[in-house]
């Protein structure tokens, strides 16, 4: 149990530590991949337009001034709007862009699971349905009525 907990902690640290380092000490290449050039709608990494060059100069200056990644992105959003971000922020209405695909996957998995369950149940019913003599068993109510009729006939 302790070993498992330790494993989870190490895994969590392995994920969180680089993200925190990147937030505190961002690099130009990673910001270039996370920002869009407003005139050509490509990432800064792929763009050579004049405004992309100007944005790169701005980012270099802000990194040198010690700004965090979030601060640099916030300043660019203030200048150009949220369309400058390659991925929508995980807050407010934009959160839908992150949540909806996940919800869609969960919903689709649920529907597939439900259909698979029903299909396997109907297969089982088919397999166990026929009685020993190869015929399907009757509804209990119908069986009772047949028995009554047969008893009356015999009498």
């Amino acid at each position: 149990m302790t070993r498992k907990l330790l494993g989870v902690l190490v895994l969590a640290l392995a994920v969180v530590a680089p993200a925190a380092a990147s937030e505190q000490n961002p690099t130009l290449p990673e910001l270039e991949r996370e920002l869009i050039c407003p005139t050509c709608h490509e990432t800064l990494a792929a763009s050579t337009s004049p405004i992309a060059e100007r944005m790169r100069a701005f980012i270099r200056a802000r990194i040198a001034a010690g700004d965090t990644k979030s601060e640099i992105k916030d300043q660019l959003v203030e200048q150009f709007g949220e369309s400058v971000l390659a991925a929508p922020p995980k807050s407010g209405f934009n959160l839908l862009a992150w949540v909806l695909p996940l919800a869609g996957i969960v919903l689709a998995a649920g529907v597939v699971g439900f259909l698979a369950y029903r299909w396997s149940r109907s297969r089982k019913a088919e397999e166990s349905g026929p009685s020993a003599n190869g015929r399907f068993s009757l509804d209990p109510e119908l069986e009772r009525r047949v028995d009554e009729e047969l008893a009356r006939y015999d009498a």
Binding site: P38, I51, R54, F80
Partner: protein, 178 residues
């Protein structure tokens, strides 16, 4: 599957498809393209570059407007700025307004551009580029001419203006023989 559940799922699927078709239709009939001459100029309200005061295009109704879209990093915009400033000085007493719209730019760069070019006509800042789609702007500079009734008139000049372009279209906007 129970009948009601099946009907509900089918209705949901039809609704989703109908919404997607409606979205497609809306985009087809409302494309981001340049408005035709004679149509009302799309209105907007944007902050003045220097004062931050809100300026609307509609507030210039009754005057001819030279609407110029630019950005500080655009070379041809630097070349045509003196022409626009000169036209502003020549025509401002005759009911003409030159209105600059700076977009896809840094505040500080736009301000420096205005200072260096000695621009005195009003300039608004479209930080998010919201007007660009309404006017079908695909690059800088682009210029539109609007008459006193707020209608698009004359030529839509996509690219740097010449002195002749300005003179001819300002006269059209003023309702004078070109």
């Amino acid at each position: 599957m129970p009948g009601r559940l099946r009907i509900a799922l089918q209705a949901a699927a039809v609704l989703v498809v109908a919404l997607l078709l409606a979205l497609l239709g809306w985009k087809v009939f409302n494309p981001d393209e340049a408005p035709d001459a004679g149509r009302p100029a799309p209105d907007f309200t944007l902050p003045h570059l220097n004062s931050g005061e809100q300026v609307s295009l509609a507030s210039f109704r009754g005057k001819a407007v030279v609407l110029n879209f630019w950005a500080s990093w655009c070379g041809p915009c630097k070349d045509e700025a003196p022409l626009l400033e000169s036209a502003w000085n020549r025509y401002k007493d005759q009911g003409v307004v030159v209105l600059g719209v700076d977009a896809q730019d840094f505040d500080v760069d736009a301000q420096r551009f205005v200072d260096r070019a000695g621009i005195t006509y009003p300039v608004v800042r479209d930080k998010h580029g919201s007007t660009l789609g309404h006017y079908g702007v695909t690059g800088f500079p682009e210029t539109w001419f609007i008459d006193a009734q707020g209608r698009i008139v004359g030529e839509h000049v996509a690219g740097p203006l010449t002195e002749e372009d300005l003179e001819r279209n300002i006269k059209i906007a003023l309702g004078q023989p070109a």
